[in-house]
């Protein structure tokens, strides 16, 4: 168990992200990839994700402003977004993406819009939580031992 209180706090925060379903195992995979050669790998990936996926969100928003909806296009965008979200293990966001795609397939515009709003919320929430997590991690200092709570 971590003796450093900040580290403990960090671990608690981290655990809650998993317990509450924000993150899945993919995030752990990223953590395992982090090493001396890439000591900030996870944060870099998350940053890249938010930057790139933000663009897709914008595209979807624009597409949702054009009526009638081009469901094929929306689905394609969301497919892309989902793929991206799977890269960091964004579990809830992914779930909303899947739902959105189902609505696209059933040509349910209303469902799409609703789901999209929900998706954006989850997306923003996760971002906040991860930002807090990384900030805390920086403050807590480097991990002396390689142990990573799994």
């Amino acid at each position: 168990m971590e003796r450093n209180p900040m580290r403990r706090q960090l671990q608690t925060l981290r655990k809650s992200l998993f317990d509450q379903g924000y993150l899945d195992d993919q995030f752990v995979q990223l953590e395992e990839l982090q090493d001396d050669a890439n000591p900030n790998f996870v944060e870099e990936v998350v940053t890249l994700y938010y930057r790139d996926s933000g663009r897709i969100i914008l595209n979807i928003e624009q597409a949702l402003e054009r009526k009638p909806f081009d469901f094929n296009k929306l689905d394609a965008y969301m497919h892309q977004f989902k793929g991206s979200s799977s890269s960091i293990g964004a579990k809830k966001v992914k779930a909303e993406s899947t739902l959105f795609r189902e609505y696209c397939r059933s040509r349910n515009g209303e469902g799409c819009m609703r789901t999209f709003q929900q998706l954006k919320k989850e997306y923003a929430t996760l971002r906040r939580k991860l930002e807090a997590y990384f900030q805390l991690a920086r403050q807590a200092g480097p991990v002396e031992t390689a142990c990573r709570p799994k």
């Binding site: 990839l33 870099e44 790139d52 469901f71 094929n72 689905d75 394609a76 965008y77 793929g83 991206s84």
Partner: protein, 572 residues
């Protein structure tokens, strides 16, 4: 590891370190992650965010890579199309990736020749195993030779062996065999790969010029009447062998059939008619043709190209089926086992070693299961539908479905459930297909073309097939697709779906030890960070490609005109 196969000994212990991987994905986040993962496996990684860039890289350094990993959905070119190109031009193993595990899509990948289809998020262990595809392909080359035993190609091989040594083969699969025959004492079996000096086969590079000569010859003879020998004679290229031509012809046929399908879709008109193999039963024959046209597939990305078949091809030309089945049937490979019945007649030829479906059975099974190819149940499936390709597409372009029809997976049926087995797939990660492999080693998909045709044929026979038997064995080519069509929804596909692998090309071009250098000069073709910089790559969509509209890739029927336009790139 093993390397008995002939990889240079010095590298043996280091193998598979240094495997040269080209990763293509428009998603910069994934590109970064994959790059890191692959480096952890000690592979040499080059990343790329655009399919066209990837093709350029591959063309510039023909033997610069051992394996390609590509995402299915990319803005500038459909992943399946890239798969096809890589297969036609470089004959490298290609692994597809997607977050979408829908059986149809997976099937499509397999049909197009992907040697594997990974679901995102991808795990390290899956990437660690990719070397097996390269290795397997190489081994298959050896086996192909064996299977050609007794086939006229052997003779060819003998006579052509000298040619082989010149290294002019296409992908070397044939050559290897040729070579093998020549050195009868050589241990054919996979060992052969090991000796770089003797097995060093240069791949035939089908340049634009060469391909044009080829096409010209084909047109002169008449597409319906072509045969490798005739083409070879007309082309008048001294260093080219009949095997090279046969192999290329196979690919070309697949490619054409795909185009045709796409066209057909538009016109709902039957797809390719290959004169050579009229669907046997044709009952649905015509229907099948259509279906085969997979137009559906094409639609989505046009890429449907079955051609890729490299791997996919489950269709191993199984000659067994009298060719009509040719379809992809990776299925019961067992049946086929034996040296593929490939009767090398004409195009079929053994060239297909590429696809040696052989073991794919294992994987195929899994795939097949999905599709429930149903020969058994086909009835319920869309088999019937297939012919019209109107597969029920769920909104998603069915390409897959169509394709599936082409893939008869013989024997898979055991898994077939009317409902498409979902996840019953036994996806065996990595080389799971062991047993199948053993049996199937013969499968080469050789004639994708044949398969293709057979597919057509098959469709017609599908209906019959359905009735027929569950034993796909004879069917070999049951159209997998048909089942797919029935499958709706997402089936959870196991993350790692192993598909038959292609016949291994020279793994490392003769496996030079040097090829496996671990160190891959960072800057060197790394190019790329095409991907990374390209955060905008994804936006390409429309602007970039006149040829394809990215989103159309996903869902819209492929517009043949667009496709043709892009053909330029085939050998560009």
């Amino acid at each position: 590891m093993v390397v008995e196969t002939g990889f240079s000994s010095p590298r043996t212990d280091a193998f598979p370190a240094g495997l040269r991987v080209l990763v293509v994905d428009d998603d910069p986040t994934w590109l970064k992650i994959l790059e890191k993962m692959l480096k952890k496996c000690f592979y040499e990684v080059t990343t790329c965010c655009l399919a066209r860039e990837a093709l350029n890289l591959l063309r510039q350094r023909k033997d610069g890579y051992d394996i390609v990993i590509s995402d299915v959905n990319m803005p500038d070119m459909d992943g399946f199309k890239l798969l096809e190109h890589v297969g036609l031009e470089m004959d490298l193993p290609v692994i597809m990736m997607s977050v979408d595990g829908e059986i149809r899509r997976v099937m499509k990948g397999v049909q197009h020749g992907a040697c594997d289809y990974l679901l995102k998020p991808i795990r390290m262990k899956e990437l660690r195993n990719i070397w097996q595809h390269v290795f397997r392909k190489k081994i298959h080359e050896v086996r192909d030779i064996e299977s050609m035993e007794g086939i006229e190609s052997i003779h060819m091989a003998r006579s052509g062996s000298e040619l082989f040594d010149d290294g002019s083969f296409l992908g070397g699969e044939d050559t290897t065999s040729g070579r093998k025959r020549k050195d009868a004492d050589n241990k054919r079996d996979d060992k052969d790969l090991g000796d770089p000096s003797s097995t060093k086969k240069a791949r035939v590079v089908w340049t634009v010029d060469l391909h044009q000569k080829f096409v010209k010859a084909v047109n002169q003879i008449g597409y319906d009447k072509v045969g490798p020998k005739k083409i070879l004679d007309l082309m008048n290229v001294p260093w080219l062998t009949r095997e090279n031509v046969a192999s290329h012809l196979q690919k070309y046929r697949l490619y054409l059939s795909r185009l045709q399908k796409e066209g057909d879709i538009k016109n709902s008109f039957m797809g390719m008619k290959h004169s050579d193999t009229p669907p046997k039963d044709s009952t649905a024959g015509s229907g099948i043709r259509n279906s085969i046209n997979l137009t559906q597939d094409n639609v989505s990305n046009g890429s449907f190209s079955f051609p890729v078949n490299h791997t996919l091809a489950p269709s191993v030309d199984l000659k067994g089926h009298e060719g009509d089945r040719k379809g992809i049937t990776s299925g019961p490979m067992t049946e086929l086992k034996g040296p593929f019945p490939i009767d090398v007649s004409g195009p079929r030829k053994a060239k297909s070693s590429k696809i040696s479906f052989d073991h794919s059975l294992g994987s195929v099974d899994s795939v097949v299961n999905f599709a429930s190819f149903g020969p058994t149940d086909t009835a319920q499936y869309s088999w019937n539908e297939i012919p019209e390709i109107q597969f029920k597409q769920e909104y998603e372009p069915l390409q897959l479905e169509n394709r599936f029809s082409q893939l008869p997976l013989p024997g898979l049926q055991h898994h077939m459930l009317p409902e498409y087995l979902q996840p019953a797939v036994s996806v065996s990660p990595g080389p799971s297909i062991t047993e199948k492999e053993a049996t199937s080693s013969g499968f080469e998909v050789k004639s994708m073309y044949d398969d293709y045709r057979s597919n057509h044929a098959k469709h017609s026979s599908q209906t019959e097939a359905v009735g027929e038997s569950h034993s796909l064995n004879n069917q070999v080519f049951k159209s997998i697709s048909t089942t797919t069509s029935s499958m709706k929804s997402q089936d959870t596909v196991p993350n790692h779906l192993t598909v038959s692998e292609f016949s291994p090309k020279n793994l490392y071009e003769g496996v030079g030890a040097d090829d496996l250098q671990l160190c891959w000069p960072q800057g060197d073709c790394y190019a790329t960070n095409f991907g990374l910089q390209g955060l905008d790559c994804t936006e390409h969509n429309n602007p970039a490609t006149a040829l394809e509209t990215p989103f159309h890739l996903y869902d819209h029927p492929f517009d043949p005109t667009e496709y043709y336009a892009s053909d330029q790139g085939l050998f560009a």
